[in-house]
Structure formats: structure tokens, C-alpha cells
């Protein structure tokens, strides 16, 4: 049994420098560092993210608490309480996410900017990532690629991802049988097939020396982002993802501020959970109460810092930048 860390001293120095640089970056911009609970009475309802639960007591009554999968709900409560621009560096936990690019316990940087559009926030994400990465990656391109989710599928497969009719489903099935023949399409819905093609066929084409921003996701993938109804009547989620090469680094939203829609998102996610046989998750009533009170118009983003560190240290597995990853934690 090996007691030793799987990282080396160089990556520990890089992590310490990265954390210091991040704090300096936000200090310069007057964004306030905050802390929120890691162990909460409510959990993330997203059917594709699973929380760890731990037994607890409340006034003598057994009550499970959830380890947070991101600090989104309580940070929005701070926004509603008038905190202004805020950021947080914290550990988060996602059950069942393990692999070369995933450790179930990982470090997230999440921040919110009041009055920002996703376009402005994408620019700030780019500034931060260039600030952190450029000194270590001389080949990093100054030019970012900005492309919509729709354009990705049109360019690669001449397929409009926002149309989910019978013809589109058949075309998706055919594409998967051609490009990912070992994947069984029988129980994949329209969105899951898009997810498969994006991760297996489109992401590998991303520029390995430059940032790629993908924006305007299908409305079904909005999570807590606003929906925009375009001129052609297509609804898109005002969300973006940022990549360097194939490595997905972060995920940003134009935050939904409408109370009713925030309620129905959490409700719908639990309904979806039921349909796929997953346990119901306690909805965050404190968050919804804050949404009722009024979350200011804002944009927010979360960046996986272990992935950023992998790029800085030029290593191919997340276990090499975490001192004691899951299997030896």
C-alpha cells in the first residue's frame, strides 16, 4: 500500500501559485472572496450529477445532508442579499465521476458578476485563463474560437441540433452507428445522442493550442441558465463551455433570475430523476426563497482548477495534480 502522494513538488508549487494568482486577479477587479457550506440540507437536483449524502440529525430527527457539487445555490443567496460580485475557491464532490480527467473530489473556482452578459463573462474567463496559463504555455494562441453549439453540429455533420423530429433522430442514430459503433443507441434520447457525438467526434477537433468557447446550448440543457428565444423561434440556453484542446475547463450561465422558472427547473429535474430511476433530491428552499426575493441580473461561471493545473503541469491524468486522489484518499 503506497502512502506517498501521486503528485510531485513541482505541481504543488504550481497549485499554490495558481491559487495566489487567482486571488490577485479578483482582488484587482474588486470581486469579493466568500465561503459557503460544503454540507447542506438540500442537494443538486441535476439528474446527471450525483451528490454524496451523509446521515445527520436535526432536533432529534434523522436528516441526510448533501455534500455540495458546486456552491451555486448559496452563492446566489449571497447575490440576493446584496453581496455584489463574488468568487469562491472550494472543494466539491460528485459521486461516480472517476477517470483520467475526473476525481470525485475536486477543486472548483466559481464566480458571479452582476450586470454581466455571458459575452462579457467569456471575455473575463479568457483573461483569467490567459493570465494563469500563458507564462507556462508559450504556444497558447491569443485568438479564442467562439462558436455556437448549433454551428458545431452544422459544420461537422450538417445537422441542426435544435430540431428533434423523427428524421433528425434517424440521422443521429446513423451517425453514432458510423462513428461510435460500439455504443448502443437503443436507450439514448435525442440529447444523449448529441452528447455522445459532441464528446466523441467534435471535441477531439478543438484547437489544442487555443481556447474554444461553445455557447447557446439546447434549451433542455439550460440547468439554471436563462433561455433565449431567437428570431427563428428556436429556444437556446444562454450557457457556455470553455475548453483548451479537448479539456473542458468550465461552464458559465446567464443566470436565471425569474422565481417561477427557478422553481420549475428544480421540480422538472426531480421529475426527470424519477423517470430514470434515481432518488429524489431535497430541493434548496433557501435558494428558492432568495430567488423570490430577487437574484440580481448576473452571469456566473465555474472552472475546474485541477484541469487547469493539468495543463500548467503538462500531465495527462488528474491524479498527477492531486496529492491523494480518490483511490488512495
Amino acid at each position: 500500500m503506497s502512502w506517498k502522494p501521486t503528485s510531485n513538488q513541482e505541481t504543488r508549487l504550481l497549485r499554490a501559485k495558481m491559487n495566489r494568482d487567482i486571488r490577485e486577479f479578483f482582488y484587482q477587479r474588486n470581486v469579493l472572496e466568500v465561503e459557503t457550506p460544503a454540507l447542506s440540507q438540500a442537494g443538486n437536483t441535476d439528474p446527471f450529477i450525483q451528490s454524496f449524502q451523509t446521515p445527520s440529525l436535526s432536533l432529534g430527527i434523522a436528516l441526510d445532508r448533501y455534500l455540495h457539487t458546486s456552491p451555486e445555490y448559496p452563492m446566489k443567496r449571497l447575490l440576493a442579499a446584496g453581496s455584489g460580485d463574488i468568487y469562491q475557491l472550494c472543494k466539491v464532490w460528485r459521486k461516480e465521476e472517476s477517470g483520467k480527467n475526473h476525481n470525485p473530489e475536486f477543486t472548483l473556482l466559481e464566480w458571479y458578476r452582476i450586470g454581466f452578459s455571458t459575452k462579457e463573462l467569456m471575455l473575463e474567463v479568457s483573461e483569467l485563463l490567459h493570465f494563469l496559463l500563458a507564462p507556462l504555455l508559450p504556444s497558447l494562441s491569443q485568438n479564442n474560437k467562439m462558436i455556437s453549439y448549433e454551428q458545431l453540429f452544422l459544420e461537422k455533420f450538417e445537422l441542426n441540433p435544435h430540431i428533434a423530429n423523427q428524421e433528425a433522430l434517424q440521422k443521429l442514430q446513423k451517425l453514432i452507428n458510423t462513428f461510435i459503433p460500439s455504443l448502443n443507441t437503443a436507450d439514448l434520447d435525442h440529447q444523449a445522442m448529441l452528447d455522445a457525438l459532441l464528446t466523441h467526434c467534435i471535441e477531439p477537433d478543438f484547437d489544442k493550442d487555443g481556447l474554444t468557447f461553445v455557447y447557446d446550448y439546447p434549451a433542455s440543457q439550460s440547468a439554471l441558465a436563462k433561455i433565449n428565444k431567437r428570431d427563428d423561434n428556436t429556444q437556446v440556453a444562454m450557457r457556455f463551455e470553455v475548453y483548451l484542446g479537448q479539456s473542458e475547463l468550465g461552464n458559465g450561465y446567464q443566470e436565471e433570475t425569474n422565481y417561477q422558472r427557478n422553481c420549475s427547473i428544480l421540480q422538472n429535474e426531480n421529475t426527470q430523476r424519477k423517470q430514470i430511476g434515481l432518488a429524489q433530491v431535497t430541493q434548496d428552499k433557501h435558494f428558492l426563497e432568495a430567488a423570490k426575493r430577487g437574484i440580481p441580473e448576473s452571469a456566473g461561471v465555474a472552472i475546474g482548477l485541477d484541469r487547469v493545473l493539468m495543463l500548467m503541469a503538462d500531465v495527462d491524468s488528474i491524479q498527477k495534480v492531486i496529492n491523494f486522489p480518490w483511490d488512495v484518499a
Partner: protein
């Protein structure tokens, strides 16, 4: 019937697919930020040795395979089975032709081999990387001939045909790499 969820996948995990036992060589979780995750996995068929790529929707299950790798001593062949013994329990296992096919020319009594058992029966045999075997047949050695690369055919005690340098004599012990079948060196008399 034991099953493994894709979230339990890790290198070396053994499972059954389409009736054959497989082992996981490489496992990667891919996830598009939000939405459906997939496991992109490289798996090796333990029967054929072939490695293939496979993608599962995360959350799916596979049937666990009762596969174990055990160090065993080779005993003898009786024309139908090749017999191996677990050195601690003295339990014996007979391996059929299919299991020993690739290695039967490297089987020497009392040597230790890795026997992969599937449901308790030998599935494949892996020889050690290097074995020391006696030359049973080759042309007489040419004294002083150490010309680079010059070789002659020879047969060793287990029946394998190899190429040896010209100076090697019948009856000598030689060290052989079983992965390539190449002669490495003479073994000095002790």
C-alpha cells in the same frame, strides 16, 4: 449474479461480454459539462488477446467475471491436458489445448507460470519473460566465430525452434525472451 456499474470501472476489472471474458485496459469518463456521461473503455478479450474500443452510457452494468491470475508450477502433459499445480495448496489444474496453444513450446517442468483461471478452469497461460532452456539439437559450434549477427537454427528441450549464434553448442543452457522467442545469452555453468 454479480454486476459492475460503469462507475466502478478501473484497469484490470474482469467482466463478461457476449459470452467472453474481458479485462479493462483503459477507462475514461467523458462528459459534456452538463448532460449524459459516457465511459470510453479499451478492453482486452482474455480468450483471444484482442484489444477493442467500447463506449458505454454511464450507469450501465456489466456482468462480473470470475477470473483470477494464479502463479502455478507446470508439471507434465498427458496428450490431452497440460497439468499445473498451485504450489501452496498442491491443487492441480488441467489446461486444454486452446489455453496453452501460444505457450506450449515454452513449458518446462517445475517452472512457474501465470495461469488465468475463468470459473476455476485455466483460460490462458503466461510464461515468465525469460526462461533458461537446454539446446537439444543444433549444428556443431564454430570455435572463435563471433561474427556479428551470424546465427544458426537450434531446438530447445521444450521443442521450440530458435536462432542462436554460431558458437553455441548442443547441450548448453541458453536464456530466451519468451515474448519475442529471441536468444539472449548463454547461461554460465554454475
Amino acid at each position: 449474479m454479480a454486476t459492475y456499474n460503469t462507475s466502478e470501472f478501473k484497469n484490470g476489472l474482469k467482466f463478461i461480454m457476449d459470452g467472453d471474458p474481458y479485462t479493462i485496459v483503459d477507462n475514461e469518463l467523458v462528459k459534456p459539462g452538463k448532460g449524459q456521461a459516457f465511459n470510453r473503455v479499451k478492453i482486452r478479450n482474455l480468450k483471444t488477446g484482442r484489444t477493442i474500443d467500447k463506449t458505454w452510457k454511464s450507469g450501465e452494468k456489466v456482468e462480473a467475471a470470475d477470473v483470477m491470475e494464479v502463479d502455478m508450477e507446470y508439471l507434465y502433459e498427458d496428450g490431452e491436458f497440460w497439468h499445473f499445480m498451485e504450489p501452496t495448496t498442491f491443487e492441480q489444474h488441467g489446461a486444454g489445448e486452446a489455453a496453452v496453444e501460444d505457450v506450449k513450446h515454452w513449458l518446462k517442468a517445475q517452472e512457474t507460470y501465470i495461469v488465468t483461471l475463468w470459473n476455476g478452469a485455466p483460460l490462458t497461460i503466461s510464461p515468465p519473460n525469460f526462461v533458461e532452456l537446454q539446446i537439444t539439437e543444433c549444428d556443431p559450434g564454430v570455435a572463435g566465430n563471433t561474427a556479428q549477427g551470424a546465427t544458426k537454427p537450434a531446438i530447445v528441450e521444450t521443442g521450440a525452434q530458435i536462432k542462436v549464434p554460431l558458437f553455441v553448442e548442443e547441450g548448453e543452457m541458453v536464456k530466451i525472451d519468451t515474448r519475442t522467442g529471441e536468444y539472449i545469452s548463454r547461461v554460465k555453468d554454475s
